[in-house]
Amino acid sequence: MDQQAQQIVDNYLESVRDLFADIESWLQGTKLSVVREETDISEGRSGTYQGPYLRLNDEKGRQVAAVRPKGAWIIAAKGRVDVEGRWETQNIVYLESPGPQAVARFVENGEDIETTFTPIFRDVTEPGWYWIEDKTRGRAHQMDRELFLDLVRVVSDYEL
């Protein structure tokens, strides 16, 4: 892995670890416990590297959901983790403030007359982990305890 790719991976893993620390604190006082493991992450730009992986287990030790790092090279984001359950998977992405922008250049007679920057996602107020409610509407919700617990319910159908 070259130095630039290594830097991207390091930044990504640091933000994943921050998110996982938040998740561990958000799940305190619920019926779920967290088991932290390591997993392989394979990407074309970096090859395979290791990162943390969370299993969310119920009181009997049965897995209800998992939070899996998916990679640092994500379209329109700086990284992604997936909340995986029995029924479905939800993506959480790391966005930098003010989020990615679609850039359009307007040219007249060979000269730039205007360049517009349109945010791809709305409501990205600071760097952090976001859940995108709908890709077309582009509405981003910053992760917090309530939203994370909702995502666990959605993917697993488990009532916390």
Partner: protein, 179 residues
């Protein structure tokens, strides 16, 4: 719609455009060019996933185009046979021929398609008839995939288009020569 309005060319044009759109997407998605990717399904995918989805979509598109080409072709063939069968309603005794024609008209669409294709032997080269049967076999696999074994030969949209179009053109040419 008259059977003669069948247009494989329209389906082929749609396929060419869709194929080129896929090719363009395949060039753009792995670069993560956000100006083009806003409000698309590719947001939040990693680059490998995006390429995989496009490849998968292209394969499915190929199969669905074969299905659509066959549907257009079948419309032509059954319409042609139905029109040829109209003479059944104009024989004596009239009461019998009317019922015979009604029965023919109701049931001709359900005839086994390989039997219908065999009717065209003598008008169309046997090799083309054989290839059309193979396309039908592949079309059936696409439509009922879970219940059927994959046919020995895969049919590409290009092959289906050229074979089915050649049959239609041959039938039309013969028809023109006798009228």
């Amino acid at each position: 719609m008259n059977y003669d309005e069948t247009s494989l060319d329209d389906v082929w044009t749609v396929y060419q455009v869709a194929l080129d759109c896929h090719r363009i997407a395949k060039k753009i998605a792995p670069r993560g060019d956000e100006a083009f990717l806003a409000k698309t399904v590719f947001l939040e995918m990693n680059f490998e996933e995006a390429e995989e989805k496009i490849d998968h979509s292209m394969k499915d598109l190929d199969n669905w185009i074969v299905l659509t080409l066959w549907a257009q072709f079948e419309h032509f063939v059954v319409g042609y046979v139905r029109e040829k069968g109209n003479v059944l309603g104009h024989t004596e005794p009239e009461a019998f021929s009317a019922r015979l024609h009604d029965k023919f008209d109701r049931e001709v669409g359900d005839w086994k398609k390989s039997d219908v294709l065999d009717l065209f032997k003598g008008v169309v080269e046997p090799d083309l008839i054989g290839q059309a049967k193979q396309i039908k076999e592949y079309r059936d696999w696409v439509a009922h995939r879970s219940r059927r074994r994959l046919p020995s030969s895969k049919t590409s949209p290009k092959l289906a288009f050229h074979v089915l179009k050649a049959i239609i053109e041959k039938v039309r040419a013969v028809e023109d020569s006798v009228t």
